[in-house]
Amino acid sequence: MNWFSIGIVSLLTGIMASLGLGGGMILTLYLCFFADIPQLFAQGTNLLFFLPIAALSLIIHSKNHLVEWKKVFPLIITGAFSAVIFSFWATIINKVILKKAFGGFLILMGIKEICTKVGKTKSERSEPSRK
């Protein structure tokens, strides 16, 4: 085991995960190509790794008043429902096509994130402008 590379990969993945940027790709790629772990186990390991990292991140972010817990539950329901839909699509549409389509979607969303300005929050939008 190369503890130095394990340390670097875990640190980077932890930072990315805590920033809400994902980061799982870094760890999964490392597990598959350098740690010689089969892909199914690499994906499971990535998910398992995320749980304590997410727990600590949420404790810190909650203390900093950055987590809106009211928004969490509806999004979990939507997320779970979407996962069921996509799992169904994956059985009837070629997985490679689905993967590439999602990749294209992410690229478009990424360009949108870079090109659009930081938006106003709902409360800022509803406040009358003072002149």
Binding site: S10, G20, L51
Partner: protein, 91 residues
């Protein structure tokens, strides 16, 4: 990658969208872990070596998220999405 834009659209500022998305994805990840356990695709020993420095990263991320300007976070997130998209298309 999906939760953050949805939360932004719902009116959350950038940092709150990122922080709140972790709560959503952690619960969905927990459900996935349970499914993996039933399918026999999980070995806890594989994850253990990565957790200590991962927790250090989580603490660092917690500090960074509080300090980083929304604009920088938004752009960095955009680049991460583009990179992820390219990776999915390239295979």
């Amino acid at each position: 990658m999906i939760a953050v834009p949805i939360l932004e659209k719902s009116g959350l500022e950038q940092k709150k969208a990122h922080a709140t998305s972790i709560a959503v994805t952690s619960i969905l990840s927990l459900i996935s872990v349970i499914i993996y356990i039933f399918k026999g695709g999980l070995k806890i020993s594989y994850a253990l070596p990565y957790i200590p420095m991962g927790l250090v990263g989580a603490a660092a991320g917690g500090f960074i998220l509080k300090k980083i300007p929304d604009k920088k976070l938004k752009k960095f997130f955009g680049f991460v999405m583009i990179f992820s998209g390219i990776k999915l298309i390239a295979g």
